[in-house]
């Protein structure tokens, strides 16, 4: 068997797309505002010279703040929107899953909707006949398949819609925030299906705000900022860039709000000021001292924070927080809390600080490690968001964010 290199399946070349938003859409509005027509239009750029290339078999995450042009980019690739200039080229069969159940009609039965929706997604009649049983099986609502969809619960609706979507046979699948629906069992089924899509060499282009999902699925990411590609590459780095962008937007908002309220703009520079002590990197080592991101429940790990000084520091601390993908802190501490003495460092020094965590009793799942360093003398700090990822595996005998050894027995009523 010859090994074929993954071909390019999506290529965008200097794609631009601007929207003109009109505030009047009826004849009356148009007539009334005719003289001021120009003022009733606002234009914004959703794609500002985007060039990118995606190869077959990769799973790509599109990241960005709300309104950064992620969905527009998906629609451009899917041919739903056409660019003002530039070219969009694709190869192979494409299915756009921008909204689950788009095209489902409430007055039609589940069966009729499966046929209609699958046809919309590009399957032929015979292909649907062939897959119909699989679709119904996957959705798990066989007994209701001949009921009208309007009587379905929202969960049933989503399951059927998802089942149809994953049984089309796309080479490229565009997904907007709808990767896993339904209860936990069904969600697992969805994720399994996505994994098998990946194994089959299908290309998945995914917009999601769930960092954990992106982290788990994507090989590569594109971070969008105001319609331009701000970063392309490694997923973890991409998530970091996104954090920085969101943080920047938050600051801008805060400054704008302060300006609007008439209060003098707080000296945000204080915050922005480079801390003289910086966290550069965080690494996790297992009990044997090997660098890793996967650890067993209950094992010991060492978290090493790599620090650097760009000024002389005497009174400083460093620490970390381990968060769940939802941003809830599970464990956090610092040299300050641990009452570790701070040594003096000169500008240009680099050094490491190790934290030994004995018996990491976390629940099975993914965790993000954020690292921070603070210079007490100047009150400045540096934070490295999602500096490292920790994947905890272990026994499935309990659920939750912490793990403990639990046993059970029956006792006589006292």
């Amino acid at each position: 068997m010859t090994v074929t290199a993954a071909p390019e399946v999506v290529r965008l070349d200097d794609v631009r797309k601007a929207f003109v938003v009109r505030k009047d859409n009826t004849l009356k509005d148009r007539v009334l505002t005719f003289a001021r027509a120009r003022r009733h239009r606002t234009s914004y750029t959703a794609a500002d010279g985007i060039s990118l290339s995606i190869h077959a078999g990769t799973t790509v995450g599109l990241l960005g703040a709300n309104g950064s042009g992620k969905s527009t980019l998906l629609k451009l690739i899917g041919g739903i929107l056409s660019p003002d200039s530039g070219s969009v080229q694709i190869r192979g069969r494409i299915a756009a899953l921008l909204e689950l159940g788009a095209g489902f009609h409430p007055d039609l039965s589940g069966r009729e909707n499966v046929y209609l929706n699958a046809t919309l997604l590009g399957l032929s009649r015979s292909e649907i006949d062939e897959r119909f049983d699989d679709i119904v099986e996957f959705s798990g609502i066989r007994e209701f398949i001949d009921n009208e969809v309007k009587f379905y619960s929202s969960g049933m609706f989503m399951r059927l819609a998802f089942a149809v979507a994953v049984h089309t046979d796309p080479d490229i699948l565009l997904v907007d925030e709808v990767l896993a629906v339904g209860d936990e069992a069904f969600q697992r089924k969805c994720m399994d299906k996505i994994r098998s899509f990946q194994r089959e060499g299908r290309t998945i282009i995914l917009v999601s705000h769930a960092a954990a999902q992106i982290q788990e699925l994507c090989d590569t990411t594109f971070v969008l900022d105001s319609g331009a590609v701000a970063f392309a590459g490694d997923t973890l780095e991409g998530l970091g860039v996104l954090r920085d962008l969101l943080e920047r937007d938050r600051r801008a908002d805060a400054a704008a709000a302060a300006a609007a309220a008439g209060t003098p703009i707080e000296d945000e520079d204080d915050d922005e000021a480079e801390s003289r002590v910086q966290v550069v990197k965080a690494t996790v080592f297992d009990a044997e001292g090997n660098e890793t991101t996967k650890v067993r429940q209950g094992s010991s790990v060492t978290l090493r924070l790599h620090l650097t000084a760009n000024g002389d520091v005497d009174d400083w601390m460093t620490g970390f927080g381990i968060d769940t993908p939802n941003g809830q802190m599970v464990l956090g501490t610092s040299t300050d809390r641990l009452k570790a003495p701070a040594t003096s460092h000169r500008a240009g020094d680099t050094w490491d600080v190790d934290f030994d965590i004995e018996e990491l009793n976390f629940g099975v799942g993914d965790y993000f490690i954020n690292a921070r360093a603070e210079d007490f003398a100047e009150g400045t700090s540096s934070i490295l968001w999602q500096a490292a990822l920790l994947h905890v595996s272990g026994s499935e005998s309990s659920v939750g964010t912490v793990a403990a050894r639990v046993t059970t027995r029956e006792t006589a009523t006292s």
């Binding site: 660019p83 080479d171 299908r202």
Partner: protein, 304 residues
């Protein structure tokens, strides 16, 4: 399929542009037709969906498609024909009116439904790529079915009343229907895409369609028009203009083929030629409508 096999197949297929104003197959009319043909299954399902949904939950269901024209027939027959006297001079007036109404219904149902088709399918247009011509086409398809039902009633009425047409005119039947379809499709495409930019189009269309019915010899006769023009000493070109209306031509053709009451004086002498010219102009118009549709449809998804 393994990843390897997929990669090999993909490597062998060329990159295709999705840029061409949002149209996958490109802008060339032949390419457009080919793409629509590839989606004929979807066209069929959408047409069926519109019909299925139309009367779902109503006790009489599809009977309603017949009740409306029958009520119209009764009204025109009684009020216009008998009370106002329009039936004088028109033999088999009921068949006359009903055949005219049937062919006109094909136009008004098609255009009326097509005008709102893209806006009404906004959910699909915004989320899934399909050639957008499908939506007005499905509207015309639905109208064909509904009017087809009416046509069956018309044939039934002809059989029952015994007012057999003279079969020499039967050749006009299919060209009349085609003529209406060409224009209905042209206007349907134009209006559906304009309606996205200006929602009033849908409502204006309804009103114009109601008025337009009176521009064609449906409840009065073409012969009466020609007589009036002579009576009032109007120049004859007015009759020419009147008779150039493609709807008038199609209605006349329909009468010629299905209504047994007419004589040579009821039709212009050059009906065939007029039909042919109207048909050719119609095709040019349809091409123009398709061109406008193509130019505009790329921005439809963001305007909805």
């Amino acid at each position: 399929m393994t990843a390897e096999a997929r990669f090999e197949r993909l490597s062998a297929t060329p990159m295709r542009s999705v840029t061409g104003q949002g149209a996958r197959g490109g802008l060339h009319p032949v390419a457009r037709i080919r793409e629509i043909l590839q989606h004929r299954q979807l066209l069929w399902l959408l047409t069926r969906r519109d019909l299925q949904v139309r009367y779902r939950g109503s006790a009489l269901g599809f009977l309603w498609t017949l009740i409306k024209p029958l009520v119209m027939l009764a009204t025109y027959y009684l009020v216009l024909g008998q009370i106002l006297g329009a039936a004088r001079g028109i033999e088999a007036f009921a068949i006359y009116v009903f055949s005219g109404l049937t062919i006109y219904a094909l136009f008004s149902e098609s255009v009326g439904a097509a005008a709102g088709s893209i806006v009404n399918n906004a959910g699909l247009v915004k989320k899934i790529y399909v050639p957008r011509e499908i939506f007005p086409l499905a509207s015309v398809g639905g109208a064909l079915f509904l009017v087809g039902m009416q046509f069956i009633v018309l044939i039934g009425a002809i059989l029952i009343s015994g007012a057999w047409p003279d079969f020499s005119g039967i050749g006009y039947l299919v060209p009349s229907i085609l003529l209406i379809l060409i224009y209905a499709l042209g206007f349907g495409l134009l209006l559906s895409v304009l309606n996205v930019y200006l929602r009033d189009v849908q409502y204006i269309t309804e009103i114009v369609l109601t008025l337009l019915m009176w521009s064609a010899p449906i409840v009065y006769s073409w012969r009466r028009v020609s007589e009036v023009i002579v009576e009032f000493h109007l120049p004859t070109w007015i009759l020419d203009v009147y008779t150039s209306n493609p709807i008038t031509i199609a209605v006349l053709g329909f009468h010629r083929s299905l209504w047994g009451g007419g004589t040579a004086a009821d039709y212009p002498g050059d009906l065939w030629e007029r039909m042919l010219i109207a048909g050719l102009i119609g095709i040019v118009f349809l091409a123009f409508a398709q061109w406008v549709f193509q130019r505009r449809q790329g921005n439809v998804a963001q305007e909805l």
